[in-house]
Symmetry: C2
């Protein structure tokens, strides 16, 4: 255990000497911290930013640089592709995606401001080619910048919220545009004169006897330094997917997963926030995915669990499908494909061929399943697929296909051995302004948070869609920066 987990703030009254003073101190140089810094600095505040790693990036730099945007009649890219996205449709989708305790205040604000946020991103220098890539995409293979990134076109979302593609990726050749996005943010942060310190680990917050956060203690070159933040401290430290002890206590279902996304997501900010009375909510929630949808013909296959039962419409977001895989008994699920749609999955997914046969009965036997289980499931599926519908799981007709061309195969996705990446979704409870709330719903004075240190737009693993976390980090990072800068 490192120091920070004691979680208790350092007493303001015991600070003998401030090593530095600023208006706003920001912890963490991922997208949330960067966007907070930009807004705070533009509002005229003196801003200091601490990052534990040797450079900017955080988990944001490991992403595809995709941001969930839309509404208001549609972005330029949406309109060019023929989608008139409405604010209501965006708000409805985000509410469904947010699960049983969706944050309706943040969602309403984000839906209303999404187009303006897109413009703000462009104003920072983020390039968008504006071209739409249809189909099932994880990240664009070239430099297109609009994709379907969630379950918009899939049941049950499509029944309630008019579908539109909303995954806006930074223009970048190939996967992994998140690093480029962070480079652009970093350039803006530095151009605005933010005082950036890397290799600077924040050890604790400083709070006065009245509970107000007044600064922080940071270790630089091995020495603790006391930083006074006159207007506020913003925690933008990410989630806790790299902290085994926190995962065990708060999100034990993730202990089955071995590919966390986020080098420094050790939960320190959540802990420090709780240490001054902040409330952490939905700590058990997490995003996970195995990239099984490429090549996209595989989406026409059907998933069955170890009992030979289907469990979801396979055309919804790959992360929603993957999260639901974890709800199934055992470690394995099988993607059933016929010769017409078979394709070799991505190497990184580590999906193996578990059985091949000339009939579904043969596949069933080869998998060691009892007779008339998997085969019965396929026969029922095929019967209705031939009629163009899927009455049990409501897979959209576009992805329905009779699995009838031998040979047949079962591709195994194994929670223990396939590539299931994950990150946590639980964190501090904040207002849309970024103000951290305590367990009574009152603000913790002087403290703000954004990104995966909070429970934000994405707070329900079964509803996650690509781009939601960066949408949350960038937009509510900005809100936190603006609010802190405005404090007196």
């Amino acid at each position: 255990m490192t120091d920070f987990t004691t979680a208790r703030p350092f007493a303001h009254e015991q600070v003998e000497r401030w090593d530095a003073e600023t208006d706003v101190a920001i912890v963490g140089f991922g997208a949330a911290g960067a966007c907070a810094a930009i807004e705070a600095a533009e509002a005229g505040a003196a801003v200091i930013l601490f990052e534990a790693a040797s450079g900017s990036g955080g988990a944001s730099a490991l992403s595809g640089g995709e941001i969930y945007l839309g509404g208001g009649g549609g972005t330029d890219a949406q309109r060019a592709a023929g989608f008139e996205d409405s604010t209501q449709a965006l708000e409805t989708y985000l509410t469904m995606a947010g699960g049983p305790d969706a944050d309706t205040a943040k969602i309403a604000l984000y839906a209303r401001e999404s187009l303006a946020h897109y413009q703000w991103l462009k104003d920072q220098g983020v390039p968008y080619k504006g071209t739409f890539l249809p189909g099932k995409i994880i990240e664009p293979a070239e430099d297109d910048t609009l994709i379907w990134s969630g379950s918009e076109a899939a049941w049950p979302f499509s029944e309630t919220a008019t579908p539109a593609p909303r995954g806006h990726t930074i223009q970048f050749m190939g996967w992994g545009g998140g690093r480029k996005l962070m480079d652009i943010f970093e350039a803006r942060v530095r151009a605005l004169g933010v005082d950036v310190h890397c290799d600077a680990r924040v050890l604790s917050l400083i709070a006065d006897a009245g509970g107000r956060v007044t600064g922080l203690v940071v270790r630089i070159d091995g020495k603790p330094q006391f930083i006074r933040a006159r207007r506020g401290v913003i925690l933008a430290t990410g989630g806790f997917c790299m902290n085994q002890e926190m995962l065990r206590r708060y999100a034990p279902q993730t202990m089955r997963l071995s590919n966390p996304i986020g080098e420094n997501d050790n939960g320190s900010g959540i802990m420090m926030g709780m240490g001054v009375g902040g409330d952490a909510i939905h700590m058990d929630e997490f995003f996970t995915t195995c990239p099984w949808i490429m090549p996209e013909s595989l989406v026409k296959g059907i998933f069955v669990n170890e009992r030979g039962q289907r469990f979801i419409n396979e055309d919804c977001y790959h992360g929603r499908v993957s999260r639901t895989m974890l709800d199934q008994p055992g470690e394995r699920v099988y993607l059933l494909v016929d010769n017409a749609i078979f394709a070799r999955p991505l190497d990184i997914a580590r999906i193996e061929i578990a059985a091949v046969g000339e009939s579904w009965e043969e596949v069933e036997r080869e998998l060691g399943l009892p007779g008339d289980t998997l085969a019965a499931t396929v026969h029922i599926f095929n019967r209705y697929a031939a009629e163009g519908h899927d009455p049990l799981f409501n897979k959209a007709p576009e992805w329905l296909k009779v699995l009838g061309e031998a040979p047949f195969a079962a591709l195994e996705l194994n929670v223990a051995t396939s590539f299931f990446s994950f990150f946590t979704l639980g964190g501090l409870n904040t207002r849309p302004s970024g103000e951290v709330l305590d367990r009574a719903g009152h603000i913790v004075p002087g403290l703000y948070a954004a990104g995966r240190a909070t429970s934000g737009l994405p707070r329900w693993g079964h509803g996650y869609s690509s781009g939601l976390s960066l949408a949350d980090c960038t937009f509510f990072g900005r809100m936190a920066g603006r609010s802190a800068a405005a404090e007196n």
Copy 2:
């Protein structure tokens, strides 16, 4: 929101006058608080106990007075019924029942001390007739005192932990022996000279600048009183099933359920414990059940979800089955029965007959399910049941029966309208001694907790078994009382 949710402790240094002093102050007069009081008083400590309600009881008094006991060669009742229960089997079962983060330290201690705890209960005056009632029982209809109370004899538990019945109920005619159990505990508490105050709501803990809990503020007759606890404060305040706001933030899946067990389980102790740095863990976990297993012939039916799929071996604990019902899509599951096993469910369960037919295909149609879904599930089940096994779900042969005698029926259990009781399982992280741990794993000096204010033996809804919560409350209540009394 009431006062306590601000969760901040009152500062010791600001206490102007102590209205009373004691060694050990206990909050809550359910089983955990009562057992803590008995041990602390017997150890020679001066003990004061506060209860917000007008009398003792808490959720414990609403229970069947059943305690999960065994190991060590078996209790008298187990041995008389022919079960040589081993400590290893008990420990293994509790570990499986505890889920992915089972508390192995508490489990090991409890398994080792279970027989001695049984003797202690008898020493307090709790009567046990010692008679075993076989079969599927929720609570004994008469005054027998040993039943199968969990999933011991069901897959997968039975494969790893040698099964034995371990539900020891207080001797009491009919259901609801929990009130009698509490009356016995209360008499002991009063006989030992514990200073009991009912209608006394604890508003906050008192902690000094070093973080040590030194007492509490309690409202009696409308006036706050400052109570000094020289050795320690024990939180035995129960869970948070009556606090809608906490349920929404920490256990949103329970928002579908409308029958909380626990009149005063408002989460106040968990909040106060967190307010002094205590860690609350597994807050999303909860127990739920719909009493569907009576008459027991119904257990020979099979459950299907709204897609006509089975989802569990129906012979495991009714609460495990019920918890798994909530994982299914939609609001309804159906218990399929034939004429041979049909029986009218308990009125309180609010289970309705959704469909009747001369064939399973007719039942399927009447329920509005697509053809060849529910009927296919039954035919596959029947095929294997005729051979005496259940290869998909491993229901034990004793409960397997071909569902072949018309007419057939589907009984509907509806999460929204049937009787699903529930209580929460998340709470403060404690050592087996009852010491409350902070987020760094260090103790919060002067603070103890027990029962549903903690995350204890029962901490995984899918593994709950009747008697686990009272086992945890009574035994670890004792440990907390003993530890607090021994503190100097």
